[in-house]
């Protein structure tokens, strides 16, 4: 809800890419309900660089989506894609025409926003999914989650973000891509997602890597969204403000509890940090009932039976 109201609506995000994850899936499922209640249909989330996520079916069926360009496909989506050539790129035989290279380019240059999740984030906003236990790949995130300086086509959202950037030159109008990290302050087993130093740093030293495995660099990140609120890093004027803005949404992790309370309050007054109550989001609406679909079966229903989930997801 925070992301939809505080970012999508705020900037009028029409072209976007979602990283895979629970947070973005929830956003996809909230568009037809929460998004609808805000009157956002047709105004945001119309053009997507995205694999054919089943979780987007309710939004597509409710008329939110004009176009999806895909990197690749998703299991069980063939028949649904075939039935929606008005939304997906299909060939003369009716099947999906995805193109990884084109889609990566679209995601880099054409999208106004990337939003995705991560396992760890530090005080500068650098994020990584490398933990002491696991070394996953980053997928498309490093590319999607970066501000493409080569971009020259304007959009309202891109220009608005550009104007907000604290280093904006008033004489030289420039745009800026929104790169949003959405995450819960604590992960599984109460492992904090906010850390003073990424596990990647020690990992790189140990493995003698040339680069520290960072998924998205802090200087590309424009917003961090947690259950505590939204930190807008664009309008931070210094590294110190940036750090406190991140601490200010880091909840009750050690990082969050070590915040400078006065500074965080003043950042909130300025709108650098916005809490759910600042956005008039009612905590009573934080309820799964608001999701347009709550199970894989619901998605099958939304698709008119065309989505055929793999056997392991069937539970009816």
């Amino acid at each position: 809800m925070l992301a939809i109201k505080g970012i999508y609506a705020e900037y009028g995000i029409q072209r976007l890419n979602h990283g895979i994850g629970f947070g973005t899936a929830a956003i996809e499922l909230l568009l037809p309900t929460f998004g609808e209640s805000l009157g956002l249909k047709g105004k945001v989330a119309t053009h997507w660089a995205l694999n054919p996520h089943p979780a987007l079916i309710p939004a597509i069926e409710s008329g939110w989506v004009k176009q999806i360009h895909c990197f690749g496909s998703e299991v069980g989506m063939d028949d649904y894609i075939r039935a929606r050539p008005d939304v997906f790129f299909t060939g003369s035989d009716g099947s999906l025409r995805s193109n990884r290279a084109f889609c990566q380019t679209a995601g880099l240059y054409a999208c106004d926003m990337f939003i995705g999740s991560t396992l760890q984030i530090d005080l500068a906003g650098n994020s990584s999914t490398v933990t002491p236990e696991r070394i996953p790949g980053f997928g498309g995130a490093p590319n999607m989650g970066s501000d493409a300086h080569g971009r020259r086509h304007a959009s309202d959202a891109w220009l608005k973000a550009g104007r907000q950037a604290s280093d904006a030159d008033p004489k030289m109008a420039r745009g800026r891509k929104l790169v949003v990290q959405v995450l819960e302050t604590f992960g599984e087993k109460m492992v904090p997602a906010f850390v003073e130093q990424l596990s990647s740093v020690e990992f790189a030293q140990r493995m003698k890597l040339e680069l520290v495995p960072v998924m998205i660099y802090g200087d590309d990140v424009t917003h961090v969204v947690t259950e505590e609120g939204i930190a807008n890093l664009l309008i931070c004027r210094s590294a110190e403000e940036r750090e406190q803005a991140i601490r200010g949404v880091a909840g009750f992790t050690d990082v969050g509890r070590a915040r400078d309370r006065k500074m965080v309050e003043s950042l909130r007054d300025r709108g650098v940090i916005r809490r759910p109550e600042d956005l008039n989001i009612d905590p009573l609406n934080a309820n799964r009932q608001l999701l347009a679909a709550r199970s894989v079966k619901d998605l099958v229903g939304w698709s008119g039976g065309l989505y055929r989930p793999p056997g392991k997801f069937r539970n009816w």
């Binding site: 309900t33 609808e36 209640s37 009573l284 009932q289 608001l290 069937r314 539970n315 009816w316």
Partner: protein, 312 residues
């Protein structure tokens, strides 16, 4: 309530908490809770096991109106200890039913929102006792002319003693409404697997669990009287539609039920899985029952003689 709920979303029964079911089933503002959480009638047993208690011991009882009609109501919270019957939990339900039994000016309809895995093992004998008392209380209430309607569609299903209340004694209840997500049985899937082996019953095979104990199966076999969609609105509409067609609670009905159950065993006793039963019942596409929409399924169910009779 925020717009986002009332206009753009129906309340799923399955996803709802017991309190959400009660609040959205009854007419707004009509509910009076008996022995509410602020009374703190908690389980005296759970502390022994270092287990957290619930202020209402996982069951809400009270009275309200449904489209203006007075009802007594009990709703189990399936997410607290699996909705199981503990001493206090059971006592609240028994008290409600005895109130209906003894006071002619009490509402004549009791709605039971069952969501239970059966007896709360930690409370052992008192849990078993509680279930026995509930069974007796339901029957006595019915003998006193009270209509008892069971509604099953939650996460825990309706198993064990609860299954008796609904499953066997569902003969105990005047009518049962069930949704696809609902399940009822006496023994739960894990119990069957533990006792009979995984080849006989794999409790992790979810489609199998639903094929044997799920709402559509119960409805088609005649173990439930009506089928609801997974929404509080649908449960309400279906329950209301049943209120005026309550079977007589007498020896004749019971004998008819015995006869029907004997016949059922004769006809289908050799079947290993429900699609075989559906085939024997003459249902077209017996393997596709699970895939049917609620609407299509309802049509088939309503056309089946097996599924629609008073001697359940």
């Amino acid at each position: 309530m925020n717009n986002a709920f009332t206009k753009y979303r129906t309340w799923s029964w399955y996803e709802a908490t017991a309190r959400e079911r009660v609040a959205n089933l009854l007419d707004r503002g009509s509910f009076t809770e008996f022995i509410g959480p602020e009374k703190r009638e908690i389980s005296p047993h759970l502390a022994l096991f270092d287990l957290p208690e619930a202020f209402d011991d996982g069951i809400i009882v009270g009275r309200g109106t449904v489209r203006g009609r007075d009802v007594l109501l009990a709703a189990q919270e399936g997410r607290f200890m699996g909705g199981t019957f503990g001493e206090v939990h059971g006592a609240k339900l028994v008290g409600l039913l005895r109130y209906a039994r003894d006071y002619q000016d009490a509402p004549r309809v009791v709605v039971l929102l069952l969501d239970t895995g059966g007896v709360r093992l930690q409370e052992a004998n008192v849990g078993e006792l509680a279930v026995s008392e509930v069974i007796r209380a339901v029957l006595e209430a019915r003998m006193a002319g009270v209509t008892v309607i069971a509604m099953v569609g939650g996460r825990a299903g309706c198993f064990g003693g609860g299954g008796i209340v609904v499953g066997i004694v569902a003969g105990c209840c005047s009518r049962i409404v069930i949704s696809e997500q609902g399940r009822t049985s006496v023994s739960g899937p894990e119990v069957i697997e533990t006792n009979m082996g995984v080849e006989e019953f794999d409790s992790r095979d979810r489609p199998l669990v639903w094929r044997t104990t799920g709402g559509k199966t119960r409805r088609l076999l005649g173990g439930a009287d009506a089928y609801a969609e997974d929404s509080i609105d649908s449960f309400r509409d279906v329950a209301i539609s049943l209120l005026d067609r309550i079977p007589a609670f007498d020896l004749d009905t019971m004998e008819k039920e015995h006869a029907r159950l004997t016949q059922r065993l004769e006809k289908f006793g050799q079947c290993h899985d429900t699609p075989e039963i559906w085939k024997a019942m003459g249902i077209a596409e017996p393997d596709r029952i699970a895939d049917l929409s609620d609407e299509d399924f309802n049509q088939i169910a309503q056309a089946q003689k097996e599924a629609n009779h008073d001697a359940r």
